[in-house]
Amino acid sequence: MKALLSLGRGVILAVSILQVISCRSLPVINPAPPAAAINQQCGQPFFASPYRFVHKIEVALPGGKTATLLGITRVEPLARSVSSAITTVEGFLLFEARYDKALHVYRALPPFNTGNFAEQTMADIRLIFLSPSGPAADSGVLEDGAAICRYDGEHGKIVDVIVHRDDTWEIRTYSGRSLLRKISAWSVRDRLPGILELTGFEAVRYSLRFTLISAEPVEESLNIQ
């Protein structure tokens, strides 16, 4: 039973490999009129209508082993809400939450109930699936020609959305000039990334890899009790 309730302890270990805080700094934005065209490119990673995504989530553990989980995400861009469930491969529900102006955690088994796991997870999911709120504070191109839009994020953070010429994209968040998060998307088809990799660069560094299993539009609104 102890083993059952400590499931995923290794997952937490994996995301807790201490590393020096990254000093990667903000990239320089080169002007590239017209800004409207750049802003449109920066919107490519985000869907305007509700979608359901199912991902295989791989976590690298110490000793070279891996743990695989399933992530189910429902995104409602107009309401700016996201719902998330994390299950074992066999479907056992480990974590379930919704962010809809406020965070609602419906289920969080140990260790998914520790610290600020729910807040951080839902913040990461919003970062991946919802476009930054408000207009871009700056936009242009990087040295390699990628389109970049810079937004003022929550709590004084800076959010960069970068769309490369081959349609792969990145989202980076910064505190001051220090990189906090990097989301890289590749194998992009019809705007849907086959693979997403999320790396956190704060006091602890972690990396999660999301492989898309399915993506489908949803219409019905939720009635959660």
Binding site: M1, T66, T68, I72, T88, F92, Y106, L109, Q225
Partner: protein
């Protein structure tokens, strides 16, 4: 029963979803305690249970990869129970209390004996096939009233020869 081979479909119902998640796979049991629980879609993975030891393999880019422990413990309970049920033993579980609900399709309701397990699984409903004694038609594992998993078994074969390799290797 000495052995069972079956296909299963799995529907995962979550309160954040309006449609269930669908998975498919195969189930093999060999008395006294060997189980192979294999998903064929959407994500290929294999759980092997033998003498109480459980291993999970998931399909990676270079074939099946052995997983770290932890997240498969809940399934160990379920597979151990299934191997008991396959032998017709519904009341000997150290983890669940069984109640029989009579009807056209008799059901066995299993409720966890321990509080800790009840935080993971609130109850299991085993529906027996009316046409064949001892056959499990479906299995419903409730986490909460709104979140549950429905397994339905088809193409059930009993007392067939199953290669021992299936209980030892993922491939």
């Amino acid at each position: 029963m000495k052995s069972v081979a079956a296909h299963f479909s799995q529907k995962k119902y979550l309160q954040i979803l309006t449609k269930p998640l669908l998975s498919n796979g195969r189930f093999y049991f060999q008395a006294p305690d060997a189980v192979r629980w294999e998903y064929t879609s959407p994500l290929k993975s294999v759980l092997l249970l033998r003498q109480g030891n459980i291993k999970r393999y998931t399909m990676g880019t270079k074939g099946f990869v052995l997983e770290a422990g932890g997240t498969m413990e809940a399934m160990r309970f379920v597979l151990q129970e299934i191997s008991r049920w396959s032998k017709g033993e519904f009341t000997q579980s150290e983890y669940f209390t069984a109640t029989l609900k009579q009807g056209q399709e008799p059901q066995i309701i299993l409720t966890p004996k321990e509080k800790e397990l009840a935080t993971i699984i609130s109850r299991i409903v085993v529906t027996l096939a009316p046409e064949k004694r001892g056959f499990i038609k479906s299995l419903k594992i409730f986490e909460t009233e709104h979140n549950y998993t429905l397994f339905e078994f088809t193409k059930v074969q009993t007392n067939v020869n199953i290669s021992e390799r299936l209980f030892l290797e993922a491939e």
